[in-house]
Amino acid sequence: MASTATLAPPHAPAAAHAHPTGIWSWITTVDHKRIGILYGVTSFFFFLVAGVEALLIRVQLAVPNNDFLSAELYNQLFTMHALTMIFGALMPLTAAFFNYIVPLQIGARDVAFPRLNALSYWVYLFGSIFLNVGFMLPLFGGDAQAPNSGWFAYAPITTNQFSPGFGMDFYVLGLQILGLSSIMASLNFIITIVNLRAPGMRLMRMPIFTWMTLITAVLIVTAMAVFTIAVTELMFDRVFGTNFYNLRNAAGQVTGSDPLLWQHLFWIFGHPEVYILILPIMGMISETIPTFSRKPLFGYNVMVFSGVLIGWLGWGVWSHHMFATGMGPIADSFFALSTMLIGIPTGIKVFNWLGTMWGGSIRFTTSMLFSIAFIAMFTIGGISGVMHSAAPSDLQQTDTYFIVAHLHYVFFGGTVLGLWAGMYYWYPKVFGRLLDERMGKAHFWLTLIGMNLTFFPMHFLGMFGMLRRTFTYADNMGFNEMNMMATIGAFLIAIGTLIFAVNLFTAWKRGKPAGHNPWGAATLEWSIPSPPPVYNFHTIPVVHSRVPLWEKNPAVADVVEHDPESSEFAEAEDEDEGQGQGSHIAVAGVDLGEVPTPRDKNRMSADELGIHLPPPSYWPIVLAMGVSAVFIGLIFRRVDGPLHNLWLLTVVGVFTVILSIYAWAFEPGHSPHH
């Protein structure tokens, strides 16, 4: 790397590389940190979109026989709420953390393929917008035609015979675009984590968040591949007239298609997807809980292996979504037992988090509150999950609100609360300023109370016979009060989320300065300034421990005594890092100690330090446009009238893809102005 430094002009303006600004710099960026921020902002936007969809659903269900929404619009909204939350908000939000945090945690200067990283982001952005185009059709005088058959989209309701509109086209095409993005991003992370770790960071020294990212990325690559098969088959049925799922062929003859094929393919993807959404969060709170308990993670090895085990077992449980399809007692028993098995490593994780907190000195920052709430709420979701594994009793619960309750305790009580824990924790690293703790506490309590008010009664609704995916319910079923409670709870969550949004926005300019390590945390990302310089580490650190920053912190000297590996510790740049004049910082009334002021070296540009960074490139966004055009053109293939000819966009897209890959391959590996 250093050899390329000779290319740098001796007196290049420092600012040019350190802080490029302007929209163009964001469009062409290949910096993992900027891409992480882009991911974060975009996915938070889609989180709000999906949240508004949830509120509309709750308004419709607040009272019986309501006609606030039409049946058709309701079906579009519950479908898009799931799709947007999963593919537009939660997965990319975890990707935002992967992007920003993982390279910092492993002591790398960027991901392995920075341009591929940019490409994943742009493909994700275009795919998410495309998926929502159905809702924009009223702007052009049509009816809203977003996907309307549920995110699970069980054939054959998704075929042209039963879904003649464009809704399911947006589904099959949009999800292929998003699948591409996820697979590309995940390959990048796997390769980054395997290859770019700092010297000395053995696999079993990696921070748990990085570990869980690695497992998640492997799951995404494999699961998305299966889903792509299913969606491609459905696309061929809808666009080209094949008969994987069509009940009747073009001549009207019965085809003998098997809807269960779709269900198996979907859930072979769909169940690992659950772990794709929860494992990164388990990683996050395995970082926050030790930090705020002032204790290293209890049972690190067990935490790693239980994560691997959850990911592995996650492949063998998919048919527990299909107990009602009549697979027979042998298959039912197998999938019931394999599902129960997953409860064991999950329980182990919970116990180890409690073990970490036990004997600690717990600081109840907002991040820690969200982390603890994660444990509690996820435990509820996990318990109802084990209850569902009892196949015969699941037959009464499946497709009822009991499942809606269960999945929201996992995805909201788990994924979302954990993401917010991560957000309060790492926001200072990303923007150099702390989120406001008072607003944070308000956000926390509104969210926690709101979610329990919304989702806890749903357990009872389900057991009392209320089915999910129903746009209304009769007046005399006993569902009225609990639905009203749920709607009130949803609006509490909305208020909390608004406060959070304000907090995120105001802290960006006006938050308290964070310093390197506001929480006294142990991992490498906290050893560099906040926000980090464009090259992350001016000197690549040498790692001798799982908790590198606690090795030299006298306040937690015990760590050193108890860690068999610690005696070897010495950080390479330690000698010239000096602590300088620091300032004390307090969070939640707790003095977190002296914050070191960065020395000049961290303010130097990459060129001055002789660090080679990948130059910006516009080919990722061009390629992403090409990829999107391929799929968008296919929509118009089914449109009548003059717009039909826009299917040629597909051809344009194909050529754009070929051209951009060619240009990409021959793009110089250093800045063009050199």
């Binding site: 269960l260 049972g299 180890n352 004997g359 717990i362 015969p392 009664p457 016979g465």
Partner: protein
Amino acid sequence: MKSVTTPGGLPGARPFRRAALALLPLLAACGGGGGGGTDSHLARYPQTTFRPASEMAEVQMDLFNVTLWMGVAVGLLTFAAIGYIMLRYRYHPEAPEPKAVHGSTKLEIAWTLAPALIVAIIAVLTVRAIFITQPEPPENALTVRAIGKQWWWEFRYGVPGGDTVVTANEIHVPVGTPVQVLLETDNVLHSFWVPQMAGKRDMITNRVNRLIFTPREPGVYLGQCGEFCGASHALMRMRLIAHTPEGYAQWLENEQRPALEPADSAGAVGLGKQLVTKGACAGCHTIKGTPAIGRTAPNLTHFGRRRTLAAGIMENNAENLAAWVANAPALKPGSLMPAFSGPGVAGALTPEQISYIVAYLQSLQ
């Protein structure tokens, strides 16, 4: 949508189940287990899963109770541990820095075995229940074919002599006899669910599924489609009517008869018959013994005896029926039955004609 009365409940819940229901008052909205003559829980929640009325549903409920109580115990312990830790180990300035403990093999083994033990208990009970609830059909079983439609149910009974009784949205069965429901669909997926009888079983295109249960007590049991099936999935409801064996025999005998002829062919009923059997209705509906032999919509031969209409969403009375005939899609979004009245409808029926049709349909006892 009008209320439909549900008959009083089953004899008092067993203590175990009543204990399970004791959890429910956690929510003010929930009524506890009833017992005695009127079952307040069932009256309040007519589609509840907490009042099994067949062995199948009871096995499912018992298993649910086991998992529920184990789950509640684990949850309470975890919550107590979290609460204790939060109080006991909260930061205060004088506290020494915590000792760095990296783990404990003994503890790890302990908290691997503890959940494994719980899971093992649930596993044994689950596998046992799986095999109990999926038996081979007994020889004396009554077989009913149930075919899911968008958005209603067709029920077909084979009767001696090779005839077939076809009805819709109300499945009639005798108590005390195992009922084998063969589940089919010729369109999208549906799921057959009458919570008090059995858990869901899907209706899957190009397959035949099976559900076997034995109703215990005569009564009307609510059910609903469990698998998302399109615009009006929410409005695909049904009734299971369990008769005494004698009552069932009477019902079946009546169903085998052709439709009643109007007493006066020039009266409202007779005019209604003209409209129904010679008009658009006949294209889709069958009324046995008349020229109406359509196959795509519910069989109306004994429509007047049904309690509800439009797949259980409304009481079957003149007012509701008139509204349905006039504009079905307004009551059931996406309904294949078109509007026959109102602006923009070609050859719209007059209110008078609709009243004849209603009179005829109600006469079909």
